[in-house]
Symmetry: C2
């Protein structure tokens, strides 16, 4: 058959019925016709409204729940409650991407380097006296962990992570806060796998933290950015070294016997 003239229209949208229900409710929420706290009618009533079976309606509710748009409660006063969209879904999806190997650890690390730098710079611009005191308190804890030597390594990493999250809060930018949480909640497992406390490393990291917090205290954004980037960059380099080492070791193990 010869090529047909004219626009080759897409097949009319395949309307799975439940998708239609999802779209209608979602639009109502995004258009604020439904606001957080509102309770949708009971399933048996919604079923009639949309003229679908209860099973189909429930598939739609399941999708909306997974999207984080509603929360479903059981019991007499239960029902589908409209939620304030939060960052949980974003974090969950991000976790899936990492766990499925679609994002390499190195790419995430490199991205983190840039983000932490900008976060520190913003924090240096905006930190209040009270927030700086909070940072200094956390720094004190990190010093204590360092004093404990090897036994404090794990806890030191925890404090380090908390300090970075605190800087994100101080930046007052909800996206930096969000991304900070997303990355830290997901990257920690790689620290445990690829980072080890060789002598002097904790002290070196502690020095970074001190310099960084000092720069924030003195409201020096550029200096804070430089130190933060350098600090995170070290982590990544160390991880890359350890990763290569492990890969090499595995190679020998499989080649010898």
């Amino acid at each position: 058959m010869s090529a047909k003239k004219g626009p080759d229209f897409q097949k009319a949208k395949k309307n799975r019925v439940f998708q239609d229900v999802v779209d209608q409710i979602q639009e109502a929420i995004l258009d604020q016709r439904l606001t957080p706290g509102d309770v949708l009618p009971p399933e048996r009533q919604l079923r009639e409204t949309f003229n679908v079976s209860r099973g189909t309606l429930r598939e739609a509710l399941r999708v909306l729940e997974q999207k984080g748009l509603i929360e479903i409660r059981v019991g007499t006063t239960g029902g589908s409650v409209v939620r304030q969209a939060g960052m949980e879904q974003l974090t969950e999806t991000f976790t899936l991407l990492i766990r499925s190997g679609s994002l390499s650890v190195m790419d995430v690390g490199q991205f983190r380097t840039g983000v932490e730098g900008k976060t520190a710079a913003l924090a240096a611009q905006r930190a209040s006296a009270r927030e700086i005191r909070t940072l200094e308190t956390m720094l004190k804890k990190a010093e204590q962990m360092n004093a404990r030597g090897n036994a404090g390594w794990e806890d030191f990493l925890d404090i380090d992570q908390e300090i970075h999250k605190e800087l994100a809060k101080i930046s007052k930018n909800s996206l930096y806060i969000l991304v900070s949480e997303m990355i830290h909640d997901n990257i920690r497992q790689y620290y445990d796998k690829f980072l080890e406390n060789i002598p002097g490393r904790m002290a070196e990291n502690l020095k970074d933290l001190e310099e960084m917090i000092l720069a924030v205290k003195n409201h020096q954004p550029l200096e804070a950015e430089r130190v933060a980037e350098n600090h995170v960059h070290k982590f990544i380099v160390h991880m890359k070294e350890k990763e290569a080492l492990l890969a090499n070791r595995q190679l020998k193990a499989t080649a010898k016997p």
Copy 2:
């Protein structure tokens, strides 16, 4: 009642049956026991495997589909096909966060400033000769739009966006690519709302692009970062001004009568 001693255990996990099914299949995928392309058994068979009703099983499949882990095809050879996790879900969730107002335009803009800067810096480090030629071709198009004057404003914004996306690709970092797509696909509506082409603005932006691409061509990361940040920052400042102007106008309108 006085405070009770001892661990305050969480209520035993509320096991909705479909959630159990979701977890089992999801773990199988993340552990690579199921890999992209694999087809799950038909619903009627899976139903027996998990010992649940077909309705419940379908709720589970709906969730997995929404998470982007499987894709469902109809027909004789259809079924639930395991997918390679992609960025679509992340973008969709991000869109929901923005549309629901959980993220302010200014926060997104500020975040974008930092990200675009780092993206440009990376691109300057890694751009091949071929990629640079691509950028220069796009720049030529932008110059043509500028020559067309006011009529070219919309198209100029399109080209501007495409250049930034291209820089992300050149950075070779999947997260910068991902975030670039996420932000641009969502922020354009605000450009249309808050940006206008006052005389000279397009020429000014064009000059930014020229400088930025020149820095990439010359492999000057710091210069590329500086120019890119400055370029995006201007957008944000303009948007803030326009936003304030509109808010003020609305204030007068409601106060007068």
